[in-house]
């Protein structure tokens, strides 16, 4: 199997694992980590395609995505902290009053 195919398959499987994790796990922090796994899988796909097209802009885009991921986690963690302080629990099943 060629390398490109291998990396694409790895990224697809990691993305699916992250999606399944977001759907089945109950802990809010574990949900956040599964989202990080999905983001990592997408970055792997981006790097693979930028290798295929042999352009440098893909790498620059990966750097910018890393910064956005750091900013995202810096916002998400305080929100989870507030939720757990109000509900005394990290179980997402207890957050059902957030429904619109």
């Amino acid at each position: 199997m060629a390398d490109l195919q291998l990396l694409l398959w790895l990224s697809i499987v990691l993305f699916a694992l992250g999606l399944v994790g977001v759907m089945i796990r109950r802990n809010a922090l574990v949900l956040l980590m599964c989202m990080e796994l999905m983001l990592n899988a997408v970055i792997l796909a981006l790097v693979t395609f930028s290798l295929k097209t042999a352009t440098l802009s893909g790498t620059v885009l990966v750097f910018l995505i890393f910064v956005v991921a750091a900013a995202e986690i810096a916002i998400a963690i305080p929100i989870v902290l507030q939720l757990s302080r109000q509900r005394r629990s990290l179980d997402v099943a207890g957050y059902d009053s957030l429904k619109g």
Partner: protein, 167 residues
């Protein structure tokens, strides 16, 4: 099979094993450690295909900043609640079905692409990358600092508004 190929396969297998462990582990700390293993293996994959810049950023930013923050919060919030004792919610079977469907659908389109050997051009080394990055993309680089500042302000605002509601 050359040695490089074998190391690449090894890192891919480690990443897959870490991803599966993330779904199976019960305590969030173990999930975090599995995620760190996935990220380090992906950094190894990036290094093996020659994208050293991304490998370095993966270790420094993801493992060094994001996951350290995550582990710190897990230690801060070590509550005993049902989400620790029962791993899975109600959507277990539909989620697994959806996951396999997704892998099948995306995999079909991936096999159609055909594969060349993925090896990076020399322009992916640190020096050409930095020159190009700070020459052509300096505006984007500066804009990321604005984004980080906005994130810091937003995080402080979230914490402050929560305090006001408590009191």
């Amino acid at each position: 099979m050359s040695l490089e190929q074998a190391v690449l396969y090894f890192f891919c297998a480690c990443a897959l094993a870490g991803g599966v462990l993330m779904l199976l582990a019960r305590h969030p700390m173990r999930v975090a450690l599995a995620l760190i293993a996935v990220m380090l293996s992906l950094a190894g994959v990036y290094a093996m295909v020659g994208v050293h810049v991304v490998a370095v950023f993966q270790v420094l930013i993801y493992v060094g900043a994001v996951m350290v923050f995550m582990v710190y919060v897990i230690m801060l919030l070590d509550l005993r609640d049902p989400s620790f004792l029962e791993r899975y919610g109600r959507l277990l079977v539909p989620a697994l079905l959806l996951g396999t469907l997704l892998v099948g659908a995306l995999g079909m389109s991936a096999t159609r692409l055909g594969g060349a050997a993925a090896r990076a051009a020399p322009s992916y080394l640190i020096q050409p990358f930095s020159a190009e990055f700070l020459h052509s993309y300096w505006l984007h680089f500066e804009l990321t600092s604005v984004l980080l500042l906005a994130a810091v302000v937003a995080a402080i605002a979230v914490i402050k508004s929560g305090r006001r509601n408590d009191g």
